[in-house]
Amino acid sequence: MTPDLQKADLHKDERHTADPGGVLTGIHFMDGDHACCEGALAAGSRFAAGYPITPSTEVVERFAARVPTVGGTFIQMEDELAASITLQGAVWAGAKAFTVTSGPGFSLMMEHIGYAAMTETPCVFVDVQRGGPSTGLPTLPAQADMMQARWGSHGDYEIIALCPNSPQECFDLTIKAFNLAEEYRVPVMFMMDEVVGHMTEKVVIPPADQIEVVPRKHTHKSVADYLPYGTNGDLVPEMAHAGDGYKFHVTGLTHDERGYPNMTPPVQDKLVRRLQNKILNAVDRISMFEEEQIEGADVVVISYGITSRVAQRAIEAARKKGLRVGKLRLITAWPFPDKKIRELAAKVKAFVVPELNLGQMVREVERAASGQAKTFAVSHAGGGVHNPEDILKVIVEAGR
């Protein structure tokens, strides 16, 4: 190991914890939207730009009320196009920033998710999913933005997406979302759904010194040595902020390590592959699951978000019938855990994938399983959650 890398590792080992000013330590009875806001504050975010949209608005409403008491800014922008780029201006000025929306607004934000991916702007986009397409079901749940979160902006890029299934996770995983955004300099999609956003449960907020936060990967290089998009082996460049004195350039155009536009195929290839590989090479580190009785299972139910809680009942009912059913909950939806699914596919008869859409993540499961195990969708067009009976029927069919 070179001395430089050792130093980099030492820096990584330093433990950074939350600023107590933003942490509402205690036991709360709180809905998922509010818990998400508290997670953002605990993670050190002091900037949000938003535009009202059901069922996500409570997140920014709480932020607007809380942030002037902890030193920060909320601005309600004129539309989601504005909100999704205002937050990025704030990030380049030194803030940790996020925005919150739902389906129609998420659609409008797509160009700026691509801009964040291309310029490697660490930030968080919260999408409290509702039924679509178009205006769809403003007040009712769906999980139909999962593919949009992954592929919605043009071009090749990778993002990270997390799926909480409770208000507690809305708190915990929002912090994780900010930490991942900083670690990989990538926009992180926080894929809530209307039910998780509006359900009220116990939320435990720990003391600030028990909350780990990942600081910005700020450069300490000299002005002469600093390359805004130069990397040092780990594929994630060091960042500078406006006003630091580096006089750097940021562009959404294909750029070289100096950040200068260079629209040639070799530079495009190098840049776009790095943007992908910084995430794909770290899938194992980024992926989070909840697993239950996977060993020896014939059928594994793969779910995420609110559907994982509905599926639980079906899984337990199937076990009572004597079926060997495992549960795999995707906490990280993107990058998709191909390897994990492939390994499982070799051991089980079938996967059952209930989700509040007409078939999105199930296709990923089917692709990763590569025919080694059958894959059954339990689709639902949204507007409510599954009847556990419907999931149970498919589990039984899959177990035959």
Partner: protein, 303 residues
């Protein structure tokens, strides 16, 4: 011509070898992409002079551009510079200014970027009176994409998307931004390089949403298609047609294809900017509970 326009640039001592504005440019990115006769480079020259004259701290200056020919300015200035998405330079700059109020944030973009795709952000930033300096280079057309109509293209001219002539009424940008709330509004042409530099320097002294429109030639697309000659002809045209009317009611400064170009400082007023209003409101409502946003921690930079 009622104003004695002095276009002479040599009041500064000029080193015969080094261009005085070179210090503000990324010379490693030259040559630039702008066409011969284009006015955008001229506006950058005036901008650099404004920086020299106003002695703005360059370390705290950030420049934000959108997309288009003028959008490329961000790539050529030796500043913290951000080439954002089409139409969204103003909201990006808004986030930057609010997150670190110590920054001087300049938005440098074109008429199509700022007033068509970005028109909503333009009026809302003016309404909020965000402390931004907006320099709008108006070449009356979408040039980067090959000469399509813009909201500023004058009636009667032809473009690639109005091959039989433009019939849509065009925006009078100074009138629009004044109505929306801008505190400083001026218009000059690329013929008025000194006046333009002075206006830019003046805007730096202003707190709030400032807007400077610069009428600028596009010989390649606008003039060629409309048989208006080359860059030099544009200068002659501007010289002949421009009329300095400081304080002119902005309702009277709309542009036509061949008519008078009213230039000057139209609006210079004071009203509290967004951050002022925000601080006052929170102080009023929250009293001691209001915690001001702490200054951005400066990371140590080795030189």
């Amino acid at each position: 011509m009622t104003d004695s326009v002095n276009t002479d640039l040599v009041n500064l001592e000029v080193d015969p070898v080094v261009n005085p504005v070179e210090a503000f440019l990324r010379s490693d990115r030259m040559p630039h992409i702008w066409c011969p006769g284009c006015g955008i480079g001229t506006t950058v020259n005036s901008f650099a002079r404004a920086l020299i004259d106003s002695k703005v701290d360059l370390q705290t200056l950030a420049l934000v551009s959108g997309i288009g020919c003028t959008g490329r300015v961000a790539g050529y200035v030796k500043l913290d510079s951000f080439h954002t998405t089409h139409g969204r330079a103003i909201p990006f700059a808004t986030g930057m200014k609010l997150a670190n109020p110590k920054l001087n944030v300049v938005v440098y973009s074109g008429d199509g970027d700022l007033s068509a795709i970005g028109g909503n952000h333009l009026i809302h930033a003016a309404r909020r009176n965000i402390d931004l300096k907006v320099i709008c280079v108006n070449n009356l057309i979408y040039a980067m994409t090959g000469g399509q109509s813009a909201p500023t293209t004058p009636d009667g001219s032809t473009t690639s998307t109005n091959p039989y002539g433009v019939f849509e009424p065009s925006f009078n940008l100074p009138h629009l931004v004044e109505a929306a709330g801008a505190v400083y509004v001026a218009r000059w042409t690329t013929f008025h390089v000194r006046q333009l530099a002075r206006a830019m320097a003046e805007a730096f002294q202003k707190k709030g949403f400032s807007f400077i429109e610069v009428i600028s030639p596009c010989p390649t697309l606008y003039q060629r298609r409309n048989k208006m000659g080359d860059g030099l002809d544009a200068m002659k045209f501007y010289k002949e047609k421009s009329k300095v009317r400081h304080g002119a009611p902005t309702s009277e400064v709309g542009l036509t294809m061949t008519g008078e170009i009213v230039v000057g400082k139209f609006v210079d007023r004071d009203r509290p900017d967004y951050q002022n209003l925000m601080g006052a409101q929170y102080t009023h409502s929250l009293g001691d509970r209001y915690v001001e946003q702490p200054p951005v921690e400066q990371e140590p930079v080795c030189s």
